[in-house]
């Protein structure tokens, strides 16, 4: 993982000191709330329904065990003992006092973290593949470029007051786990014929009230041209993005209004005039950044040796004395291997995804004790490194296959071994009206109902990968538009009402889901999701995914399962 140099550290320290003075001026009444609000937002501090909320950046979702421990400490010392991991791979603390926030920022700075640009109309935390650098299918490790973009965009004087917030995502794999096509700019890194990195720039994706899939804006951009090209793109957006209407201010609207060709021409024009030497030498800078990533020293395992994870039966023997493969412990371990363990590019290693979607738990929440346990397991088994996923889970990226049973045992003892990664109960849920001042309905209790309802089905059927995302308002923080089953909470005359969209997906074949029809009451959602899954299980052919089946058979059967005569829907 990336280690700050003296410049990085100085910037973060100075920013923390600056915020301390701003808070002090606010508390003493030297500045009003109207004057203070943009300052606190630039430091990730919101005022939500119950209290302040501090959003801390986790650049491209990578955390050391020391950083995770510090987050646990902050949760205990300054908050209510827990934190919430978000779809931008950040963490939010829901109860910090304003008077404590300068100390919290100091604590963060002490372990190379901050809350800069986690809010406001600027370039937000850059997200990437949570398996970056370790995925078996990866062509290019996106982390050095993500770090370069982080440094370029941090406090960039030209881009501090954009028309609206701006989100980048990067992937270096053909299998997109970073949802790049629903970001303002998505970057797909590829390995060119001569071994040099090339970048496809996807532009104009986004969610919210006008969901859009990004368009391919420029293909095969060289690494040396990338930064000036992105700067040209941002300059054009900054110049022409609509500032008169915040609902039309994102770059996706600019793209839709002026068209692809005209926007490309405008960017090319600006690009041609940019002094490229200002960005040189990019390749040298990338390798300098790469050298500041601490690389795990993998234990070399000969290719002809095939270290398998400990057999479920062996685990059952060691834990219970029985060699019965159907013993509950063996069954649970096997299921966890199947769902939560992913292929690593290093022979003999595995990627472990820890689910933060316990049934009855709150999606994305982790207590301070759990954070400490993640840190401790990472120290013992994952080279002290962790990742946060945009699906609100935690990753142990470097686990020896022969350690998998021990890791499972540790997680299991901490009630963190829920084996549901990418299953329907691995629900993305935003905080909704339980916390968020912008919400029109609650998301968390509905997500809990759905998970409780469908968990049994997951266990007895081979439902497989199927995404269910629920947002508490049209801002779509939970990415409901691109879920296989998307749920949007609205307010209808003071009553929470939930709209269902189907057939969305956020991978390399991203699609916006189709809206089914009138909304349902909260109590009707979980049974409806259950019936939608039944239609899929009934109609799917061979290895079809939910999206495949939906595309093949269309919406009628699914819609009928929601609203058909058999189902007493009472909403108007």
């Amino acid at each position: 993982m990336y280690q700050y140099d003296q410049h990085d550290q100085k910037l973060v320290d100075q920013r923390s000191q600056e915020f301390r003075q701003q808070v002090s001026r606010r508390l003493s009444g030297l500045i009003s709330e109207d004057e203070f609000k943009p300052l606190r937002l630039m430091n990730g501090l919101y005022l939500q329904l119950h209290a302040y909320m501090l959003r801390v950046a986790i650049p491209y979702g990578v955390l050391s065990s020391a950083q995770m421990r510090k987050l646990a400490y902050i949760a205990d010392r300054y908050d209510r003992g827990y934190g919430h991991f978000t779809t931008r791979q950040n963490i939010q603390f829901n109860w910090p006092a304003l008077v404590d926030t300068p100390d919290i920022l100091d604590e963060l700075a002490s372990i190379q973290m901050h809350a800069i640009q986690t809010s406001g109309n600027c370039i937000r935390n850059i997200t990437t593949d949570p398996f970056a650098g370790v995925a078996a299918d990866e062509e290019v490790d996106p982390r050095p470029l993500a770090e370069l973009l982080r440094q370029w965009s941090t406090l960039h004087p030209e881009f501090r007051y954009l028309p609206r917030k701006f989100k980048f995502a990067i992937t270096g794999s053909a299998n997109d786990r970073a949802a790049i096509k629903v970001h303002d700019i998505g970057l797909r890194l590829k390995s060119g014929a001569d071994g040099k990195v090339l970048v496809d720039i996807w532009l104009g994706g986004g969610q919210g009230r006008t969901p859009k899939i990004a368009q391919l804006f420029r293909e095969n951009v060289s690494i040396t041209e990338l930064l000036p090209y992105l700067e040209a793109t941002m300059r054009v957006y900054n110049r022409y993005g609509r500032r008169d209407n915040k609902y039309k201010a994102r770059i996706k609207i600019l793209l839709a209004e002026v068209g692809l060709a005209e926007l490309q021409a405008e960017v090319e024009e600006v690009f041609s005039k940019i002094d490229k030497s200002r960005f040189e030498p990019v390749e040298a800078e990338l390798s300098r950044l790469d050298s500041r990533f601490i690389k795990p020293l993998y234990h070399e395992i000969p290719e002809d040796e095939n270290p398998e994870p400990d057999e479920p039966a062996n685990l059952a023997v060691s834990l219970t004395g029985t060699s019965d493969l159907n013993a509950p412990v063996a069954h649970e371990y096997n299921r966890w291997l199947e769902r939560n363990v992913k292929q690593h590019k290093q022979h003999g290693y595995a990627i472990v995804v820890v689910s933060l979607k316990r049934i009855e738990g709150i999606p994305g929440d982790a207590s301070a004790d759990e954070m400490r346990e993640f840190a401790s397991i990472a120290d013992d088994y994952s080279h002290s490194e962790l990742r946060v996923t945009h699906r609100q889970n935690v990753v142990l990226p470097h686990v020896k296959q022969t350690d998998l049973a021990s890791v499972w045992q540790r997680l299991s003892d901490a009630n963190l071994a829920t084996s549901n990664i990418d299953l329907p109960s691995d629900i993305i849920a935003c905080p909704g009206m339980d916390y968020c001042a912008l919400a029109t309905a609650r998301s968390i209790p509905v997500a809990q109902e759905i998970a409780a309802h469908i968990r049994a089905k997951e266990k007895v059927t081979s439902v497989g990968d199927l995404s269910v995302n629920i947002s508490g308002c049209i801002n779509a923080c939970a990415h409901h538009h691109v879920a296989n089953i998307g749920i949007l909470g609205l307010d209808r005359g003071g009553v929470e009402n939930y709209q269902i969209t189907l057939g969305g997906r956020s991978d390399e074949n991203a699609r916006i889901g189709e809206r089914m029809g009138r909304g349902l009451l909260a109590s009707e959602i979980a049974p409806a999701v259950d019936r939608i899954i039944d239609v899929y299980l009934d109609k799917r052919q061979l290895t079809e995914t939910f999206s495949d089946t939906y595309q093949r058979i269309g919406k009628a059967a699914f819609k009928d399962s929601i609203y058909g005569d058999d189902h007493a829907i009472q909403t108007a």
Partner: protein
């Protein structure tokens, strides 16, 4: 300063003044004594326009004096319980058990906050009030 008033029907409904304490950020309510409390049971229920106007003046002054922020008047029942779901959640805290084993629910001390959620659901979803 113009104060927000989110009451639906100014003539017929009672209301309370709700705000965030500037230093802690926590939800607070204006009391009869013109102070701010975290306890809903101590909130002043305004019953007419004169009371509402007086209460909003105190709130505006306290905002200007940097004691609270974001103060506004919201509809409530006679005993001060907010009528709108969003405000009910502000008062009760999250409707989910965010700290299993520990409760911070303001409405129902000692009870898991989920119990408060059930009541919120009963009041607003089933009867469809508001």
């Amino acid at each position: 300063m113009t104060m927000k008033n989110n009451r639906e029907n100014d003539d017929k409904r009672m209301g309370i003044i709700i705000a965030n304490d500037l230093r802690s950020g926590l939800t607070v309510f204006l009391t009869v004594a013109g102070e701010w409390t975290e306890q809903l049971s101590e909130a002043m229920v305004v019953v007419d326009e004169i009371g509402a106007s007086d209460a909003l003046s105190i709130a505006a002054k306290d905002e200007a004096d940097n004691i609270v922020t974001g103060a506004y008047l919201t509809d409530s029942s006679e005993s001060g319980e907010p009528i709108v779901l969003r405000e009910a959640l502000r008062v009760c805290g999250p409707s989910v058990d965010y700290q299993p084993g520990r409760s911070y629910s303001k409405c129902h001390p000692g009870l898991p906050s989920r119990s408060a959620a059930c009541q919120v659901e009963l009041a607003y979803s089933v009867s469809g009030e508001a």
